[in-house]
C-alpha cells in the first residue's frame, strides 16, 4: 500500500519528461529545418535528414515505442505540410512521397526498439551488480557474526564455569582459589566489554552510505584519550608517541578513531610477545595524516593480514582462541575506510608495523 503513491508520481514524472523532451526536440528540429529551408532553398531531402536525426534522439531519450512513432507521424505530415510543394497543404500526391513516409516510420520504429532493448539491458546489468554487492555484504556480515559468536563463547564459558564452581564449591575452596576464580571472571568480562564496544562502534557507521559523522578534532586529544583508556585496561603497557609539533585538526569521528588506535596498540602489545614499548608515530603528508603503530616483537604473517583486514580470515582450529585479533582488525578496516582512509600492515626489521591514513580535508 505504502509504495503505490511514490510509484505513480514517478511514472507521471517520466511521462511528463517524455512529452516535454519530445516537444522540445521537435521544436528545435523544426526551427533548424525552417532556417535551413529559407537560407538554402534546397530540396526537402535534407530537411528529412534533420527530422530523422531528431527522431533518433527522441527514440533514445524517451521510454518505450510510443513517442518515437507519434513523432514519426508528426514529422512525415509536417514535412509534407511545410516543406513540399504545395506549401501549407497536406498532399500525398507528390511523387515518391509514400516512400519517404514509410522510411521515416520504419527508421523511427527500429531505433525505438533498439534503444528500448538497450535500456532494458542496462537496467538488468545494474540490477545484477547490485545483487552481487548485496550478496558480498551479506557474506561479510555472516562471516563476522560467525567469528563473533565463536569469540564471545570462549570468555562466557570461562565466566559461567568459574562462577558456578565458586557458588557450588564455596566451602571447599581456599581463599586464594576463590580470589583466582573471581579475578578470572573479572578479566574475561573486561575482554567481553572490549569486544562489545568494538561491535557497538560499528553501529556508528551509517549503514547504507558507509560514511561516518565527522567533526573537526584535535589529533592529540584523541590519541591521549585512547592511551589513557588503554592504560586503564593494561596498566603495564608502555607507549611512546611521536607527533609533529604543529596543531593538527582533522575531520573524524573521534570515538571511532580512538577505537582503531586502541585496537592496534592492544594488538601490538598482546601479539608481539615482547615487553618492549609500543611506538605510535604520527606523520603528516600533503593531504593525509598517517598513524603508525610499531612493535618490536615476533612480527606478523604478511600473507594473512589482507584476509584478516577484510574479515575473511578463519582462525585455524589449532590456534589459541583467545583474543580474536581478527574481529578487532576487520573493524579497524571498516572504520578507516568509512573515513576515506587506508589501512595496511607489514613487517619491519625488528617486528611489525600497522599503519592507517586519514584524509585531512573532508571528502
Amino acid at each position: 500500500m505504502k509504495h503505490t503513491a511514490p510509484t505513480t508520481t514517478l511514472e507521471s514524472r517520466t511521462l511528463w519528461h517524455n512529452i516535454v523532451s519530445t516537444i522540445i526536440i521537435l521544436a528545435i528540429a523544426t526551427i533548424l529545418a525552417f532556417s535551413f529551408f529559407h537560407i538554402t532553398q534546397s530540396d526537402p531531402a535534407n530537411i528529412a535528414l534533420i527530422y530523422i536525426l531528431a527522431l533518433i534522439i527522441i527514440a533514445r531519450i524517451t521510454t518505450g515505442y510510443f513517442f518515437g512513432i507519434i513523432s514519426a507521424f508528426f514529422c512525415v505530415i509536417f514535412i509534407n505540410w511545410c516543406f513540399t510543394y504545395p506549401y501549407f497543404k497536406v498532399s500525398f500526391a507528390i511523387s515518391g512521397y509514400p516512400v519517404t513516409f514509410v522510411f521515416l516510420l520504419t527508421i523511427s520504429m527500429i531505433v525505438s526498439t533498439l534503444t528500448t532493448r538497450l535500456k532494458k539491458q542496462d537496467k538488468m546489468i545494474l540490477d545484477r551488480e547490485r545483487a552481487i554487492n548485496e550478496a558480498d555484504k551479506e557474506r561479510i556480515r555472516a562471516n563476522l557474526l560467525r567469528a563473533i559468536s565463536h569469540d564471545l563463547r570462549t570468555p562466557l564459558t570461562s565466566i559461567i564455569g568459574s562462577s558456578d564452581s565458586f557458588t557450588e564449591n564455596y566451602a571447599a575452596l581456599s581463599d586464594q582459589e576463590k580470589l583466582d576464580l573471581v579475578s578470572s571472571i573479572n578479566e574475561d568480562s573486561h575482554w567481553l566489554l572490549n569486544m562489545v564496544e568494538n561491535l557497538l562502534s560499528i553501529t556508528r557507521i551509517q549503514g547504507d552510505t558507509g560514511r561516518v559523522r565527522k567533526e573537526d578534532e584535535l589529533v592529540e586529544e584523541v590519541v591521549s584519550e585512547a592511551i589513557t583508556r588503554i592504560k586503564k585496561r593494561i596498566p603495564d603497557i608502555e607507549i611512546h608517541v611521536t607527533a609533529p609539533d604543529n596543531i593538527l585538526i582533522i575531520p573524524m569521528d573521534p570515538l571511532l578513531i580512538e577505537q582503531v588506535l586502541m585496537n592496534l596498540i592492544e594488538n601490538a602489545f598482546v601479539h608481539s610477545e615482547t615487553n618492549r614499548p609500543v611506538e605510535l608515530q604520527i606523520s603528516e603528508e600533503s593531504d593525509t595524516l598517517t598513524f603508525h603503530v610499531i612493535d618490536y616483537g615476533k612480527g606478523i604473517d604478511e600473507q594473512t593480514i589482507p584476509l584478516i583486514l577484510k574479515g575473511e580470515y578463519h582462525v585455524p582450529k589449532t590456534s589459541d582462541t583467545h583474543r580474536g585479533m581478527g574481529i578487532g582488525l576487520s573493524i579497524c578496516n571498516t572504520i578507516v575506510q568509512a573515513h576515506g582512509g587506508q589501512i595496511s600492515a607489514h613487517n619491519h626489521a625488528h617486528g611489525a608495523e600497522f599503519l592507517f591514513t586519514l584524509p585531512k580535508g573532508d571528502i
Binding site: 557497538l200 573537526d216 578534532e217 584535535l218 584523541v222 591521549s224 584519550e225
Partner: protein, 237 residues
Amino acid sequence: MIDSYSILIIEDEKNILDFMARTLRSNGYKTITSETGQSGLSIINSQCPDLILLDLGLPDMDGNDIISSVRKWTSCPIIVISARAGEQDKVAALDLGADDYITKPFGTSELLARIRTSLRHSNRMASNSPLFIRPYKCQGLMLDFEKRMVTLDGKEIHLTPVEYKIVAYLSKNSGKVMTYASVMENVWGPFTDSNNRILRVNMANIRRKIERNPSQPQFLFTEVGVGYRMCEDENEM
C-alpha cells in the same frame, strides 16, 4: 560514623542498583534506592540526600527532566550514569546542571572517586571556605589565583590572558568534567560562537606549555566529545 553522607541511587536495573548500594554501604555511605524516576523525585524532595546517582535511561521519565526539576531548588550534586555511546546525552545532562558523569560499565574505585570529588566540591560551595583562593597544586604544577601566576616545578609558565582564564576555570573545578560550552561561556562570555575550535586550539597551546608530554597529559585530560577535566587539586585529596 554517625554523620555519614546519604546517597540516593536512581537506577532501574536491579542488579546494578544492588551492586552500587552494596559498594557504597561497605564504604561508609548511607544509601537510599529508587527504581523509578517518580519515586526518586519524591525521595529527593522529602529526604534531601547529600548526593544523587542518576541513571539517564529510566523507564518512566527522562533523566534530564529529573535534573532540571531538582536544579530548580537545590544544588545537591548529581552524578549521571550513562552508556558509552551517548556523548550528546552526557553533554546535555551536564549543561542542565549535573555535576559529573560516569560511564557504564564502571569499576568501584572509579565510582567512589567521582563521589568523593563531587561531595568535596559541594562542601566547598556550601561553606564558602577560603580554600577557593588557595593556590591550585598538582604534581609540580601550581596556580596562584591572587598573583595570576602559573608555575611548573617552580619555573614560571607564560600564558596569554585567555589561556590563563581557561586554566584557572578548569583548576577551580579540578576533578570535574567541564563541557566545551561551559568553558566557552566562562572565558569568552555568554554570546560566543557555538563552534569550539578556538577553545581546542587554545587548549593545544596550553598543553604544549604545561604538559611535560602533550600526548600523554598529566594535568589536562580530554573527554572526547564532552569537554575537559583537570587533574584533582592535591590540597583536597
